[in-house]
Amino acid sequence: MSLSRDQKIGAFFLLFAVLLVFVWVPLDVDSGYTVQVRRQVSVGDAFAPTIAGVFVLIGGLFLLVFGGTRDEPQEPIDFLALRFAGLLFAVYVLSFMMMLFVGPIAVLVSNLLTGMEQEYRLLRDAAPWKYLGFAVGCTFAITSTISLLEGRFSLRAVLIGLCAVLAMIAIYDLPFDDLLLPPNGDV
C-alpha cells in the first residue's frame, strides 16, 4: 500500500512524537512530570514538553489515518528548487563562518608583517579591524546570492554587496557605541 504525501508527513511526525515523548524527554530532562520540592508536589520540567509531544502525536496520527482520503491533486515536490534552497542556506552559513575567521587571520598576518603581538579580541571594537570580517562575509553572501539568482556573476552584484555593507555599518555601528556587528560579540 502506498501512502499519500500527507500520510507520509503524518507518519514522520508520529514517529517524531513517539521518540520525543519516550526517548528524548526521559533522557534529556532532569525532573519528571511532577517533582516533590519542600513537601509540595509541583509540575516538573518533563510535563510541558510531553504536552507538546501530544499535540504533534494527535496531528500526526490524524494525518496518517485520514490523510490518504484526499484525492485532490498535489503539486509535486520540486526537488531542483529544494536543492537550490539548500545551496542558498549553505552560502549564508559559509558567509558567517568567513566573518568569524577573516578578522583574526588578518591580525595574524599583520603581526607577521609588523612583528607586533596584537590580538583580534582586543581590537574587536577598533576600526578597521572590526569591519573586516563583516565586510568580507556580507559582500560574499550578497554577491553570491545575486549571482545565483541571476545565473551569472556580475560586477554589479559585488557593488551592491559593498553598498549593503556600508549601509548596515551606518545603521548599526556608527550611531551606537554598544552595538556590535558580527562576529565581534563572539570573541
Partner: protein, 535 residues
C-alpha cells in the same frame, strides 16, 4: 479636582511641556516632537522586514533614558516616543507584508494572505490604502475604548480570572489557533506542538537546561527573534528566492504592472469595508483587553470573522479570501491594530503587559520612575493632584497625537515606503536576508543566534513546501513559556490539585470549548475530505 480637570491637565502636560523649538513664537513641546519622531521611526522599522516595533523600542529605550534622565519630566517624551513607534510600526508592518509577502511583524502574517495577491494583481497602492484606513480606524476605536474603560474593564476581567482560568484560557487560545488556522487542523496541531516544543528547549525550572543535549548555545533557550524571524522571514525569503530562480527563464513571468485606475479608496469601497473593520475592531479590542493574549490571535479571529461574513455576502465576481480581497486586508489590519490601544488597559490599570510594546512602556516607566502602572494610577483624588493620573491622561493625549499624525500623514509616509517595490527582487531579497541576520546578531551578539535562525529558516522553508502553516508554530512558541508557567503556578497555588483546570466553572468552560474546537475542526476536515472523494 474632577475627572475633567485631570483630562485637561494631561493634555496640557503634553502640549505645554519643555519647549523643543518654537515656530512664530508658538512653542512646540518636546513631547510632540518625540511622538512624531517615534512615529516616523516606527513606520520605517515596521516596513523593514527583520526589524519591528519591539526591536526599535529595545534599542531606543536606553538611549532615550540617557538623553532625558530620571525625572518625571522624562516620562511623557520617552513614553510618547515609544507610543509613536508602536503606532507607526503597526501600519508600517503591513507594507512588507503586502508588497513582499514578508511580514515584518507576526501580526502582519495574515495581511500577506490577501495583501500580497492584491500586489500581484497590480493593486499594491490600493492594498496599502485599505490597510492604512483599516488600521488607523481600528486603532482609534481601540484608543477610545481604552480611555473610557481602562479604570473599570480590566479590574473586572482580572477579578474573574485566577491562575487556573488563565491557564485554561491559554489552552483554549492554542487549541483554537491549531484548529482554525492554516486549512488542515491536523497540520495545525503538528505546527502548534512543534512551537511548544521549541519554547521548552533550554528553559524550565531545573538547573539542567532541558532538551539541549548539554549544548551551551541552547542553555538560555532559543532566542525569540531567532525562532520567529527564522521560521517566518528567512523561510519565506528563501522560498521566494527559489520561486524567482525557477521562474527566471520563463518568458511569461509577469512584470507587476500597477493599474492606473481604481487605486484610490472610493466611498463605496469604504462603505463595503466598514462592516469588516467594525467587527474586527471590536474583536481586537476585546482580545487586547485580556492580558497576555496578543494581536496575533486578534488578527486570526478578525480574519476568520471577515472570511465568514465574506462567504455569505460576496459578489460572485469578487476575489476569494486569500486571493486578493481588500476585505481580507481590512479584517486583519483593523483587528491587529485595535489590540494596541486596548492592550494598555491591563497595563495601565494593573501593570500587567499584554504584548511586547506594553512591556517596553512598563520598562520605561520603571527605569525613569515617578509612574507605576497599576491600580494606584486611576485614583481620582480630589483634595490633591494625583500626578500619575495626569501622566496617564498625558499618555492618552500622546496616543491621540499619534493617531492624528496617522490619519493625516500616515498614509503618505506608509505608501512612500512602497518605493521599495521598484528594487528588483533578486537584489532586494539577498539584502533583506542579510539585514535580518545582521539585526539578529546585533540584538543577540552571538553567532549561535544566527545558526539557530538559519536552522529555523530551513524549518520554515520546509513547512511551506509541505503545506504546514507556520502561524500556529509561532503563536505556540510565544505562548508556550507563559502556558507552562501559568500551569505550574496554578497547580502550586491550588495546593497541587490535579483537577485545577476542571473544578471551577470558568476554567472548565474554557477547557470544554478547547476540546470542542479541536474535535469539531477534525470532524469537519474528515467529512469534507470524504465528500470530496465521493464527488
Amino acid at each position: 479636582m474632577g475627572a475633567l480637570d485631570y483630562i485637561w491637565m494631561g493634555i496640557l502636560a503634553v502640549l505645554q511641556g519643555p519647549e523643543f523649538f518654537s515656530i512664530l513664537g508658538v512653542g512646540v513641546s518636546v513631547t510632540i516632537v518625540m511622538v512624531a519622531l517615534g512615529f516616523l521611526l516606527g513606520v520605517a522599522v515596521g516596513a523593514t522586514p527583520g526589524l519591528g516595533g519591539p526591536i526599535a523600542m529595545a534599542i531606543s529605550l536606553p538611549i532615550l533614558v540617557s538623553i532625558f534622565g530620571f525625572t518625571p519630566d522624562a516620562l511623557l517624551p520617552v513614553m510618547g516616543f515609544l507610543i509613536g513607534i508602536m503606532k507607526g510600526a503597526t501600519i508600517g508592518g503591513a507594507v512588507p507584508a503586502i508588497l513582499f509577502n514578508t511580514p515584518g511583524t507576526p501580526d502582519a502574517y495574515l495581511t500577506t494572505l490577501d495583501g500580497y495577491p492584491m500586489t500581484e494583481n497590480g493593486e499594491a497602492r490600493k492594498a496599502l490604502r485599505v490597510a492604512h484606513f483599516s488600521s488607523v480606524t481600528g486603532d482609534t476605536f481601540s484608543d477610545v475604548v481604552l480611555i473610557v474603560c481602562a479604570p473599570f474593564l480590566a479590574l473586572l476581567v482580572e477579578s474573574y480570572l485566577d491562575l487556573p482560568e488563565k491557564a485554561a484560557l491559554l489552552i483554549l487560545s492554542l487549541s483554537f489557533i491549531a484548529a482554525a488556522v492554516g486549512g488542515s487542523p491536523a497540520k495545525g496541531l503538528i505546527s502548534t506542538g512543534l512551537g511548544l516544543l521549541a519554547a521548552y528547549i533550554g528553559t524550565g525550572e531545573d538547573f539542567y537546561p532541558r532538551l539541549t543535549g548539554g549544548s551551551e548555545a541552547l542553555q538560555s533557550g532559543l532566542p525569540l527573534v531567532s525562532v520567529i524571524l527564522g521560521a517566518l522571514i528567512i523561510g519565506s525569503v528563501i522560498y521566494e528566492m527559489t520561486t524567482y530562480w525557477r521562474e527566471r527563464g520563463r518568458a511569461e513571468r509577469a512584470q507587476r504592472q500597477q493599474k492606473r485606475q481604481g487605486q484610490g479608496l472610493s466611498f463605496a469601497l469604504i462603505r463595503k469595508l466598514l462592516p469588516y473593520i467594525g467587527r474586527s475592531a471590536v474583536a481586537g479590542t476585546i482580545i487586547g483587553a485580556l492580558p497576555g493574549i496578543g494581536s496575533t490571535l486578534a488578527a486570526t479571529i478578525g480574519y476568520a470573522l471577515g472570511r465568514a461574513r465574506y462567504a455569505k455576502t460576496k459578489h460572485p465576481d469578487d476575489p476569494e479570501f486569500g486571493q486578493g480581497a481588500p476585505e481580507g486586508v481590512a479584517s486583519t489590519e483593523a483587528a491587529n491594530s485595535s489590540v494596541s490601544g486596548a492592550n494598555l488597559i491591563p497595563v495601565l490599570s494593573l501593570g500587567i503587559p499584554g504584548n511586547a510594546a506594553a512591556v517596553f512602556l512598563i520598562l520605561a516607566a520603571e527605569s525613569i520612575g515617578g509612574f507605576t502602572p497599576g491600580p494606584s494610577v486611576f485614583k481620582f483624588t480630589t483634595d490633591q493632584v494625583n500626578p500619575e493620573l495626569v501622566i496617564a491622561f498625558g499618555l492618552f493625549t500622546c496616543m491621540f497625537l499619534a493617531n492624528f499624525l496617522n490619519w493625516t500623514v500616515g498614509g503618505v509616509i506608509m505608501r512612500s515606503m512602497g518605493v521599495m517595490t521598484r528594487i528588483p527582487k533578486q537584489i532586494l531579497l539577498p539584502c533583506v536576508l542579510m539585514l535580518t541576520l545582521t539585526a539578529i546578531y546585533v540584538q543577540e551578539t552571538a553567532m549561535a543566534a544566527v545558526w539557530i535562525t538559519l536552522a529555523f529558516g530551513v524549518m520554515g522553508y520546509l513547512m511551506r513546501v509541505f503545506g504546514i502553516s507556520p502561524l500556529p508554530f509561532m503563536v505556540a512558541f510565544i505562548l508556550g513559556g507563559r502556558l507552562e508557567e501559568t500551569l505550574r503556578q496554578a497547580f502550586s497555588a491550588t495546593g497541587s490539585d490535579p483537577w485545577f483546570l476542571l473544578n471551577n466553572p470558568i476554567a472548565a468552560a474554557f477547557m470544554g470549548l478547547a476540546a470542542l474546537t479541536v474535535i469539531i475542526a477534525l470532524r469537519q476536515d474528515r467529512r469534507s475530505s470524504f465528500s470530496e472523494r465521493k464527488a
